[in-house]
């Protein structure tokens, strides 16, 4: 079963981190990615550019509008994701808890919907 782990961080807090700490944090991410790849749980994963680069797109009454920024203003922003394979929610939670941002921001764990094919 696949779970999408959405990583939310407070960008201002991350920016304020001293360089040495930032480097250690990044190294932790590299290690986590290598670990989940090695254990066979990793399906995909990426980090995202800061929320300042985000654009929200909507079509209303047939008219396209684009706005600067994310859909909702929140204290924590979507900063990346891992798509993982886990046997159940407990295993997914255990893996999500090892994502370095779990200690600073939060990780939203969402099961991926499976459609019954023919």
């Amino acid at each position: 079963m696949q779970y999408l782990c959405l990583i939310y961080d407070d960008e201002t807090k991350m920016d304020a981190m001293p360089d040495a700490e930032k480097g250690a944090f990044f190294a932790e991410y590299m290690k986590f990615s290598a670990d989940v790849k090695a254990s066979g749980h990793m399906v995909a994963g990426d980090a995202l550019q800061p929320v300042a680069t985000a654009t929200t797109v909507r079509i209303r009454d047939g008219k396209l509008t684009t706005t600067d920024g994310p859909f909702a203003e929140t204290r924590e922003q979507l900063g990346g994701y891992y798509l993982i394979e886990a046997k159940d929610l407990d295993e997914a939670i255990q893996i999500a808890a090892r994502i370095p941002s779990a200690r600073y921001g939060s990780i939203e764990v969402r099961p991926v919907m499976v459609f019954d094919g023919p």
Partner: protein
């Protein structure tokens, strides 16, 4: 015959359901339908002859019905001829396996990924004997809202794949804590008689005690990782039994709150107290590292054992609150310790500890009420009156408001 089936339904529904959910891979809805069908089938089948093992019969029929449904669904989806056998890997039902199924059910219903109110509702619905309507009435919600809450929880269990398992040793202590928190939430909802129908509230207390007993029974197994949770479950059960033993003396005929020191101890439920006192040593003994429920039970036990308020071992109670504070460093625990110290070493010592909690508890009516009481005992009437007024300004329930008002009036008369 109908009466027999009704009795078996009440006694066995949770066990049969727990064992059926295992073959439906955590699909609660499907399992509930299959269990319902099995009991309907029993009405006809048992008219001819009642089986020797009604529970085994029901589990067998319910599982078969669930498996049939799964197979039919598989066919419907036109899967290949070799449809996965849903029953694969399931051994015939052994008594130990049934106990394990109910423990699994408890852990699944109280999974931390479910909201606490959903955990409570699901536990009461599946393991307890309450209907959705009864649960709704107990928690003062509309039946439709409660039904929706249950459906949402069951959907999440299925779609997010919350496992139907006793957690492994590393996760067990924290998960057992969640189960106990849910049971204690049920108990407190019934015990804090601040709102709702009194009779239903009694039901909630009884139901929580029943669930506590069940958790003790289910964790009393030959597995080292269950020893800690079992000790703490005994502590929780003892705590609930001790509180509940005083139920008839907490509120007087006029519906007014009666303080522990003013309660008629002759009317406490002695049989229930004795049962609880039998549990406390085992609850406390676990590796010398007693859990918060065991410590609270030990405190309640000291109150229950005292023949009169004056005969209470306050020094021991203060020490136990100190120990509890080490485990749960909250301001409310510290306030309780301050009250015990005041009883053991005098009001002045208690007041000093209470005043030190001002920053954290200034918004809490019981902090003001405690200060008021200690100031009154020290003869500082004017300050006591101000503290009672501060408590009154923050109090939540009507009986507590009336109690504080009476205290304030008595102070004015004395002054």
């Amino acid at each position: 015959m109908d009466q027999l089936i009704a009795a078996v339904f009440r006694a066995e529904r949770a066990r049969v359901l727990a064992s059926t959910i295992r073959v439906t891979h955590g699909d609660f809805e499907l399992a509930e339908e299959a269990v319902q069908d099995a009991f309907v089938a029993a009405v006809d089948a048992w008219a001819a002859q009642v089986p020797d093992e009604p529970r085994a019969w029901l589990i067998g029929v319910a599982r078969n019905k669930a498996i049939d449904t799964i197979r039919r669904r598989s066919k419907l989806r036109a899967l290949v001829a070799a449809a996965p056998d849903a029953a694969e890997g399931y051994a015939p039902t052994l008594p130990g396996a049934v106990a394990d199924d109910r423990l699994r059910l408890m852990f699944t219903c109280c999974h931390p990924a479910l909201a606490p109110e959903a955990q409570v509702a699901l536990t009461l619905r599946t393991l307890g004997g309450l209907t959705t309507d009864e649960i709704a009435r107990a928690f003062l919600t509309a039946p439709a809202t409660m039904a929706q809450r249950l459906v949402r929880a069951k959907t999440k269990i299925r779609d997010a794949k919350i496992p139907y398992e006793v957690p492994d040793a590393s996760a067990l202590p924290a998960r057992a804590e969640a189960v106990m928190a849910a049971i204690y939430l049920v108990f407190n909802e019934g015990y804090a008689a601040s709102r709702g129908d009194a009779l239903i509230r009694r039901d909630l207390c009884r139901e929580a005690i029943r669930l506590g007993r069940l958790l003790v029974e289910l964790t009393a197994r030959d597995r080292p990782e269950l020893a800690g949770p079992n000790a703490e479950a005994q502590g929780l059960l003892a705590l609930m039994l001790l509180h509940d033993a005083r139920r008839d003396t907490r509120i007087d005929a006029a519906g007014e709150l009666v303080l522990l020191e003013d309660q008629d101890r002759a009317r406490w439920d002695r049989a229930q107290i004795d049962e609880a006192l039998g549990l406390v040593p085992a609850a406390l003994r676990h590796r010398g590292d007693s859990g918060p429920y065991a410590l609270q039970a030990a405190i309640a036990a000291l109150h229950a054992q005292a023949a009169s308020p004056g005969a209470t071992d306050w020094r021991q109670i203060a020490a136990l609150y100190g120990e509890l504070y080490r485990r749960q460093p909250t301001a409310v625990v510290a306030l309780n310790r301050a009250v015990a110290v005041a009883m053991a070493d005098g009001a002045a010592a208690g007041l000093a500890l209470t005043d030190a909690l001002a920053d954290e508890l200034a918004a809490y009516h019981l902090w003001h009420a405690t200060r008021a009481d200690l100031l009154r005992r020290l003869g500082r009437s004017a300050e006591a009156a101000r503290a009672y007024q501060a408590a009154l300004a923050r109090v939540g329930t009507e009986p507590e408001r009336r109690f504080l008002s009476r205290r304030l009036a008595a102070l004015a008369e004395a002054g």
